[in-house]
């Protein structure tokens, strides 16, 4: 399969990129590493007239750490760079580990942090070429009227499968979004719409430029566990991140899930700093996660029943490991 025709735009600045994107009014797509974009283009699932390449804009691929500001990652930092960065490994090794869980070494080399967070959601009925999809009625995500996964539901149930999103969520990350009117900072969770068809809240002309993670304290801990059929390439059939963030007075225990809903799911619990995180807390979080995880028969691997059964097992395991890492 070949790429369709498109015009390639290489803006020199963010302002130029935002203006171009807005002017194209939905006919343009942002390209960063391209790993989540080129295959759907070849399959004619998306037909943007313009590709706006962020690689030509300087300064978007930097990693820095400041004890007060925390870790700042440019959206164009490659997954390989994230995995290899000394600063990242010293502050949030879970990010380096999660980056290595994404797809393959080749995709890690091309794919970016921003691209991973902004990846499209997946569905067996959608991620096939336009030609091969002709046999079934066009689904909502492909511009049609039906959902083959949940028949008669009238909405798209494509699953969001980023490996990095749950990790950044449990770390309390915020994101910077730029458009021609300026920039705004918001919690990462606000990036996600919860809609299968369009999983992101970004509007045309808006670009994710930075991810900011709060400063580490001594007893923070976080892990990411991934369920998949193969030890490489696969998207998560379930991904669970767990993190403990200790503040002055309190500690926050967070669990986030990917691969089981239209958006990443976040569950948090705040306790007094000196309170022991016991079985009761773990149970509550595992039960919440189990209740809200909604795996469907739209990914290739494992039955939905199995993936749901794995949720509490993975949540417990992730929390226990995070507590261990956090020294509790």
């Amino acid at each position: 399969m070949r790429l369709p025709e498109f015009s390639y735009v290489a803006p020199r600045s963010l302002a130029e990129a935002c203006t171009t994107l807005e002017e194209m009014d939905g006919k343009a797509a942002v390209i960063a590493g391209g790993t989540d974009l080129l295959q759907p283009l070849k399959e004619k699932l998306k037909r943007p007239h313009y590709l706006v390449d962020l690689r030509s804009i300087p300064g978007l691929d930097e990693i820095s750490y400041d004890p007060k500001e925390g870790l700042t990652l440019g959206a164009m930092v490659s997954l390989r760079h994230l995995a290899a960065s000394r600063v990242v490994k010293q502050t949030y090794p879970v990010l380096a580990q999660a980056a290595l869980e994404v797809a393959t070494a080749q995709i890690q080399a091309m794919g970016t942090v921003g691209g991973n967070l902004c990846q499209d959601s997946l569905c067996l009925y959608y991620n096939r070429s336009a030609a091969s999809k002709k046999g079934l009625e066009l689904c909502l995500k492909a511009g049609g009227d039906v959902c083959h996964t949940v028949k008669g539901s009238g909405k798209c149930w494509a699953t969001f499968c980023s490996d990095l999103a749950p990790v950044f969520l449990v770390l309390g990350a915020r994101i910077k979004i730029v458009d021609k009117d300026g920039e705004r900072v918001s919690p990462l969770a606000e990036l996600y719409s919860g809609h299968g068809r369009r999983p992101l809240t970004l509007k045309p002309g808006q670009v994710l430029t930075q991810i900011m993670v709060p400063p580490v304290t001594g007893s923070d801990g976080a892990v990411y566990l991934k369920l998949r059929l193969r030890q490489s390439i696969d998207y998560p059939a379930l991904g669970v991140a767990a993190g403990i963030r200790v503040k002055e007075e309190t500690q926050k225990i967070a669990v986030a899930l990917t691969g089981v809903e239209k958006k990443p799911l976040l569950f948090e619990k705040e306790l007094a700093r000196d309170q022991t995180i016991g079985e009761d807390v773990i149970r509550v979080l595992a039960e919440q996660a189990y209740a809200q995880a909604h795996p469907l028969n739209n990914l290739r691997d494992f039955t939905p029943k199995y993936r749901k059964e794995m949720v509490p097992i993975y949540v417990r395991s992730a929390l226990q490991q995070a507590l261990h890492w956090g020294g509790q």
């Binding site: 091969s132 046999g135 290739r300 691997d301 059964e309």
Partner: protein
Amino acid sequence: MNSNQSFITVGKSPLRADARDKVRGKGIYIDDMRLPGMLYGKVLRSQYAHARILMIDTSEAERLPGIIGIVTGEELPFIHGESFPDEPLLARGKVRYMGEGVAAVAAVDEETAEKALGLIKVEYEELPALFDPVAAAAPGAVRIHEEMESYKGKPLVRPVKGTNILNHVQFERGDVNQGFAQADHIFEDTFTTPAQQHCSIEPHGSICLIDKDDNISLWTNNDSPYRCRIEIADALHIPMTKVRIISAPYTGGNFGGKGGLKAEACAIALAWKIRNVPIKVLYTREEEFCSSIIRHPSVIKIKTGVKNGGTILAREVTTYWATGAYAEKGPTVSRFGGISSAGPYNIPNVKINGYLVYTNTPVAGAMRGYSGPQTSWAYESQMDIIAAKLGLDPLELRLRHVYQDGDIHTATGQIIHAEGLKKCLEEVAVRMEWQGKTLGPNQGRGIACMERAVKTPFGSAAFVKVNEDGTVDILSSTTEVGQGSETILRQIVAEELGVPLNAVRKATPDTAYTPYDASTTSSRSTFHMGNAVKIAAADARQQILQLAGKLLSTDPVNLTLADGKVLDKENPVKVMPIAAVLGQSYGSSGTVLGRGYYFPEMPEGQETYFSSQVVFWLLGAHGIEVEVNRRTGEVKILKVYAAHDAGKAIHPDNVKGQILGGISMGLGYAAYENYEFKEGNVLNPSFLSYKLPTAVDMPGVVPVIVEQEHQDGPYGAKGVGETTNVPLPPALANAIYNAVGIRIKSLPITPDKVLAAMQERGEGESQ
């Protein structure tokens, strides 16, 4: 036998002839070939599993600039197929599976051709479709080929009139009912297997040029040029010598998938209409999955009667093979499956029924193992079910029943010889310390073996041409599809002629110049073509000695060849390089051309059809150690031990490569690969969602080469590569049973299945 003879290159592992080219990206494949004025073809494919074609309107597509021509099935009144011709070049009248070619377009470039496909309008009337072979075999089921009775198949194909069953395979020996009556225990189990795709790195591709007199030149990555030639000539009703098949220099993987007419059919369809211009068709990966070929999904019912103490008295096997929309190699797959359905075991009473059934799914045909993966999944799983019930050692049960030299093969009635299977089992048992090794908690081990016939009787011919500089060209129609035949044939010729390996080249097959060969399939090349080139080399050797005798004034019987030289055995002073002999002789004495032909001798009075007698058996055994996670159902393979009988390994590293590759493919079938079908749609026609095991999923493998020399093989060698994948799935299932006591009867074995089975037994630990 040559067991004590010392060889110069046979039995060594020299660098493969194709290694440097391939590693450097210099290998030429069909997609690298561009002919002057070449057009590009694309195929519009059916969007229904079963439907009548009411109308095809190509007018708008024809007006697109850059479109040279469009052809539909109605213009092509031809059907093709190796043993049961039933498949049109493009659908005629109706479509029988989703992905079937309906119309083809030739354009100046691929983009234009692809664009034109979107402008062709087709009206269909949908028909009820059948996806399950058991349902499709039922009397009264909708007919997928209403005209089946008019098809002219080979005698071995036995359709059942008025049904979707195009071949009923039967073998019977003894009296199973009596055997069951005498048995103390009856075991009845049903096993199922899914579709699998070859996933060759290189897709199917062909370039076809047809002139006004119907002379056809076809450049292709087909595995078997001569078989391809006759299939085309028969389909088009033209003399076969009007068809010239030229192999691409290299083929990027075959595994049985590149036989028959795939891209060939599309390129021929276009070139038949658009004459005097070469037209290339290269499949996309999606076409590979949906429109090329798959392994037969199967349902296997196996019933076995056993005495107390474990003697197997009777076995009855009924198999449904889903052959998809067209016969392809189905008749011979089901026949081989029938031959070996009861397993490689001495069982006095056996009854085998195989039903090859049309279904509205992608066409199934040849794939590595060619029925072996399905049959062994059933009989080897059941062997362990029997052993467990009777408290017997699974290895012991097998060793007690496995064929040995002099035994009579159940299905064929043939006397067994050169049977290395017992040795394979014993080698695996020794390596995995079957006796004595203690495994940890939740760990288990399993063993499984297999047999499969090589296709018999078929011939292979070769020429060995010795050039005036002393170098040698092998003219043979064996294709190099990655299996390593090029190197093995060169080794044999170098050995026979006493010349260095690098003085021997193997020509790319071309039916205009390289002689007949039945096919590069069934792991038959080392044995059949190996014999042919060995005979041809011996012929050339005699010719060289004759020439040298004249030049050295010596009786040729005193001369021998070694190290690229002619030597006088009695007078060491008389030495002459072969190059000098040939250099001085050419011109005056003509050419040195050795001829060789091999056709296996079969006992007289036997039925002569396809593999009623088998010239050699493919044999192997696998042992697997696993650890099962009781909470998640995940199975970790700790080690695979794989022993295969090569007769004599001409190139041991290549045999090991075949074993490792086979393990990877067997592992895919066992634990990863599957087609997700939805009403005939393939939902996972890409590497995103069709899961091949990756390099990091490969377990540690201990490959063992068993060498039970075959009396008719070159240096005792026989084929080995085709079935190195076969025993893995049942060995894995047996190991899982050994570890946690659950029996999986449907492939692939995935963690969700394992966990569900443990939960059913009340053993899971899930919340």
